[in-house]
């Protein structure tokens, strides 16, 4: 007791002013440590600022307005920005990389979510074939680097194309894979695009209004109402209506176009299946001028033909490229009159021209439209790699979340006679989703971060393009780094913000 008393007295004496007392005082100590941390952070910030202002730091922004010589692969970014190597500026290159990176990340996130959900469900089924397949998939792809998956997909796809006849793989006649990418058809709306948009908006408004009304009514009377089903039927009806109406519009436009622009003695017809402007003639054509784009509903380009002798028919196809072979066609049947109704949506030629076919001139901007849709091989490989990798993780998360639910909950639901869908919708999903969302969002952020590796397979994303610039000129390395970081941080936080609040987790 005496010793304890002495210690207490000593403590009390010490508390006055001594250094030790100060060191022991949490407030003093906290202030001291914080001062050190703030000092260090300030020094780091000042140093960064100093480096930024210095010449050799390469932090000037001027280089962004220099002409870029970096060549890019055709892709969405290049198409949207209209990038031309040797003419465009470096900041345009930045936007190309940005658009490419975002499109890759979004595509991979969507696909990985679908794949992961399917895999997660498969693993839970009392069906050893499906659960075994899902387990093998998860274990295999979780344990391989995503970069390896990208590179392997690239190598396998290009080897597949290269070992096939003609260097092209025909995928059920729907698409074609070759060394440059996957070429797919893509619908093109010829007329009534605005009508279509209007109808979609109208049906969306209708759907929300119906839901609102349904909830009101349910609160009042307790009766349900099939708002979703009615909205879906209404949407379908509106779409059919607008399709029919747009067909008439397309036909009317076509008729106008026929009247306005054609030399009457020449006979012209339209054939959506024809690859280009085709001259059915035995004579040689000396000059073709492509004068510009026609209005909505008409074939894209108007051809003025001069020096043509003995032309019996000109066929206008979907593609605005100069005809490659203009001689040697036999005259074909002729029809001049515009039809009363034309399909307003057209699927371009199923398999767009590939290696073997002659190059179009002028070349389409970036190869994405006009020939249907082309996904560059780099994009495809990166997308596939990311999807397979993230899908495995998301599948595992799904399974773990469902397994984490108290089995009694499911048993109770079963005992009440709840059938599959209700059990999932009312019991399993509400409990599993809050568990799933945080780790899945984390993996979405991982997908965004990993999408920066796509340059390894030749995809022109922001990292690949800018490392090309960096080897080109060391100037601007710092700015490039900061811009790249900013892009990925923004994307990553956007993912978090977009997914937060969606589900009450």
């Amino acid at each position: 007791m005496a010793a304890d008393h002495r210690t207490l007295v000593k403590d009390a004496e010490m508390s006055a002013n001594s250094l030790a007392a100060r060191l022991y005082d949490p407030r003093w100590r906290g202030a001291f440590i914080q001062a050190i941390v703030i000092l260090l952070a300030a020094i780091a910030a000042l140093w960064l600022l100093g480096a930024a202002l210095s010449e050799e730091g390469g932090f000037g922004l001027g280089f962004l307005f220099e002409t870029s010589r970096v060549k890019i692969e055709p892709g969405l970014g290049g198409y949207v920005v209209g990038y031309v190597a040797g003419q465009s500026k470096l900041y345009q290159l930045f936007f190309v990389g940005l658009i490419n990176a975002v499109s890759l990340a979004v595509a991979a996130i969507i696909a990985a979510t679908l794949l992961g959900a399917i895999v997660g469900v498969f693993r839970l089924l009392p069906n050893f074939v499906l659960s075994g397949l899902a387990a093998i998939y998860v274990e295999l792809f979780r344990n391989l680097p995503v970069l390896l998956l990208m590179l392997t997909s690239y190598a396998l796809m290009s080897a597949w194309a290269a070992t096939s006849s003609n260097g092209t793989v025909d995928l059920l006649g729907l698409a074609r894979l070759d060394g440059s990418g996957l070429h797919m058809p893509f619908p093109e709306i010829l007329a009534g695009g605005s009508t279509l948009l209007l109808m979609l908006t109208a049906s969306f408004v209708l759907w929300r209004a119906l839901r609102w009304w349904k909830r009101k009514r349910k609160d009042r009377t307790g009766e349900g109402f099939a708002a979703n089903r009615i909205s879906a039927v209404a949407l379908l009806a509106l779409l059919v209506l607008s399709y029919v109406a747009a067909g008439y519009e397309a036909a009317r436009n076509a008729a106008k176009w026929y009247e306005r622009d054609f030399i009457s003695r020449q006979i012209i017809r339209e054939d959506p299946r024809a690859p280009a402007i085709r001259f059915t003639s035995a004579a040689r054509v000396t000059a073709i001028e492509i004068c510009g784009e026609a209005r909505d509903g008409a074939p894209r380009f108007v051809a003025k033909v001069s020096g043509v002798e003995g032309v019996t028919e000109i066929v206008l196809g979907r593609y605005h490229r100069a005809p490659s072979a203009l001689t040697g066609f036999a005259p074909a049947a002729v029809s001049c009159a515009a039809p009363a109704w034309l399909s307003p949506i057209r699927w371009p030629q199923r398999a767009p021209p590939t290696k073997g076919a002659p190059e179009p001139s002028p070349a389409p901007a970036a190869g994405w439209l006009g020939y249907g849709l082309t996904a560059p091989l780099g994009f495809l490989a990166a997308w596939l790699g990311l999807t397979l990798y993230a899908g495995a993780y998301i599948g595992e998360i799904t399974r773990a979340a469902v397994l984490a639910i108290n089995p009694g909950q499911i048993e109770a639901a079963r005992a009440l006679g709840m059938q599959g869908r209700d059990r999932i919708a009312q019991i399993i999903a509400p409990q599993a989703l809050p568990l799933m969302i945080p780790p899945i969002v984390q993996h979405y952020r991982g997908v965004v971060a990993y999408s920066s590796l796509a340059s390894a397979v030749g995809y022109s994303d922001i990292v690949g393009l800018f490392s090309g610039v960096m080897t080109d000129a060391s100037e601007g390395a710092g700015v490039i780094l900061i811009m790249t970081l900013a892009v990925y941080l923004t994307m990553s936080h956007a993912v978090t913000l977009l997914t937060k609040g969606r589900v009450g987790a």
Binding site: P126, L144, A456, L485
Partner: protein
């Protein structure tokens, strides 16, 4: 989550179900019923029928897919594979006939002659062939040591533990014997190391702690010296400063222990002791890796070449790239003209004794010529393959751990400045791709150290990796800190235990123990993600595979697939094994916790 019920429904049954036969299914047919057919045999309602049909179709598709893929893979890896190339040129083995090879067009199978040639590159990168035994030693010790630790860490049956050690040792040994021809040349080194090991792994000599300590301190040093060749230029001042700092700190802590420094000593003595030991370790590490140590060995051996002799050796190796022959008198005249100095007879005799041909003469890059030191330097740019990937992953994970712990503690600190700085750092790197951290290190380090500084590229990459991974580790460790019972720290505070000691003795041991599985998974992630150095032109395992895949000499369609198959197999073995281990540890921890 809002519940969206399409219709209001009642789930309470008002009629009794008629009695049904007991759902008993036994035997293999019962198993099949329970695990396959039951999932697609519900036809009680329209919806259930649709679901059953869907599952049935999916099962058939999955079966077909499995069979097709297995057949594809076997076809590629075994049936269509080429095992031996023609005698008159292995490179023709997998080339199509149209390009002068022996395979018909459209053939697609694994190319094993190609892998046999590239295997060394996949494992070691461009490490000099004569020096591979050094890498093998590092693999061997690493395999044995970590095998021992793993066998201890999972309280499996003793038999299993021994099995794990044998497997690890066998793996290490087989790698070194199959791929390292130098193994038997260095019998002495081998025997020494093996004796050391046998001594270490005898249970009474080497408890788990001892081996762990060895793997964390001596092993990195040995590996570093073996891989780089040691002999790093270090200013003696630095060593002296380190030793002095250690002396001051340790004596201060001793004084504090005796109570000579009063209250301040009580508070800071602990920290001084830790710092003192850290600086002793760092100084020793630096010393053994330095040229000062090698100079000492050379001096003890009594052979030291003069600058003139070294110049002569370099000159000769530059003139004659194949330094088999000794220079003639006329050649030596040329040397005299070039350098304005003749070699004395004794100097010449010494060089003759060396026969002008030792590997160090190769060393236009070597800092000096060494007679006794057996390890010629190997630049980090020559490192590659699995070796580089492993080094990046292991060093990255271990070096980032202290920073990760600090960041995790800072993120939970009561002090707002500390907390916000730590959290900002963590969320910065957790949202950013790893490549940006590495690029940041590569770009910023020259600015920091001055443009003229010679910085090792690998070291900078490792720095970026560490800074990046620390943020991720911090997040994992924070989970452990959150999970540690709060009462523990409060009890320590009630006992007036200082913050540092509370952390070291109470909080961290509990927190870190629970996050070991997370840290192992983080290591697996790092092992996989370290492949991205290939974007920077460094070839880890994947970079080596890609490099091999684009080798035009072989000119074959299948080499990419073959190389990636080999790389995938290695990655899968490592990652699968480690994730399994992590989940075993996790189960073990949970068993303890759920008791």
């Amino acid at each position: 989550m809002r519940l969206r019920s399409p219709r209001a429904r009642s789930y309470v049954r008002d009629t009794l179900i008629p009695p049904q036969p007991a759902p008993v299914h036994v035997g293999p047919i019962g198993w099949l019923w329970r695990n396959l057919f039951a999932s697609m045999a519900d036809f009680s309602s329209r919806r259930a029928t649709a679901w059953s049909v869907l599952i049935g179709v999916a099962t058939l598709l999955a079966l077909w897919f499995c069979v097709a893929q297995i057949a594809n893979f076997l076809g590629f890896a075994l049936i269509d594979a080429v095992w031996h190339g023609p005698k008159d040129g292995q490179v023709k083995a997998c080339r199509p006939t149209t390009q002068g090879g022996i395979q018909e067009a459209g053939w697609f199978g694994a190319c094993y002659p190609f892998l046999a040639e590239k295997w060394r590159q996949l494992i070691y990168g461009f490490y000099p062939e004569n020096e591979l035994w050094r890498v093998n030693q590092v693999f061997l010790i690493g395999g044995l040591g970590s095998g021992w630790l793993v066998a201890h860490a999972v309280p499996v049956r003793r038999l299993w533990g021994i099995g794990v050690i044998f497997v690890a040792a066998g793996l290490g040994l087989s790698i070194s014997t199959i791929f390292g021809e130098g193994l038997l040349d260095r019998v002495g080194v081998q025997i020494l190391l093996l004796i050391g090991f046998v001594w270490l792994i005898l249970p009474e000599n080497a408890p788990r702690r001892g081996v762990g300590l060895f793997m964390l301190t001596a092993y990195p040093l040995i590996s570093f010296i073996l891989l780089t060749g040691g002999d790093i230029e270090v200013a003696p001042k630095l060593l002296l400063a380190g030793a002095m700092a250690a002396g001051v700190l340790l004596s201060a802590s001793l004084a504090a222990e005796r109570g000579l420094l009063g209250e301040v000593g009580d508070l800071l003595g602990e920290a001084a002791r830790t710092l003192g030991w850290v600086s002793i370790a760092a100084t020793a590490l630096l010393f053994f890796a330095s040229d000062i140590f090698v100079d000492l060995i050379e001096a003890a051996g009594g052979v030291a070449l003069t600058d003139k002799q070294i110049a002569a050796l370099k000159w000769w190796s530059e003139i004659r790239s194949d330094t088999d022959a000794a220079p003639t008198i006329a050649d030596l005249d040329g040397f005299q003209r070039a350098f304005g100095a003749a070699l004395s007879t004794q100097e010449l005799a010494q060089l003759r004794a060396l026969q002008w041909e030792r590997p160090f003469i190769d060393a236009t890059t070597a800092p000096g010529t060494r007679e006794l030191w057996p390890l010629p330097p190997v630049e980090t740019s020559a490192w590659g393959g699995l070796m580089l990937t492993l080094i990046l992953a292991v060093a990255g994970a271990l070096l980032s751990l202290p920073l990760g712990v600090l960041l995790a503690l800072g993120g939970r600190s009561r002090l707002p400045a500390v907390r916000s700085v730590s959290r900002a750092y963590i969320s910065l790197w957790r949202g950013a791709p790893m490549i940006s951290a590495i690029l940041a290190a590569l770009i910023m380090a020259p600015l920091f150290f001055g443009a003229g500084a010679e910085l090792d590229r690998l070291a900078l990459v490792l720095l970026g990796l560490v800074l990046f991974n620390a943020a991720h580790q911090a997040q994992i460790i924070r989970g452990g800190l959150d999970a540690a019972p709060k009462g523990q720290a409060e009890a320590a505070a009630a006992l007036r235990m200082p913050y540092g000691r509370t952390l070291r003795l109470i909080v961290l041991p509990q927190a870190l123990a629970t996050v070991i599985p997370g840290l192992i998974n983080n290591f697996v992630g790092l092992f996989k993600d370290a492949t991205i150095v290939l974007l920077l032109g460094m070839s880890g395992l994947l970079g080596a595979a890609k490099h091999a895949a684009t080798d035009l000499d072989w000119g074959s369609q299948v080499q990419a697939a073959s190389a990636y198959m080999a790389a995938s197999a290695i990655f899968f073995l490592f990652c699968f094994g480690l994730t399994r281990y992590a989940s075993a540890v996790d189960r073990e921890i949970r068993r303890g916790r759920n008791r």
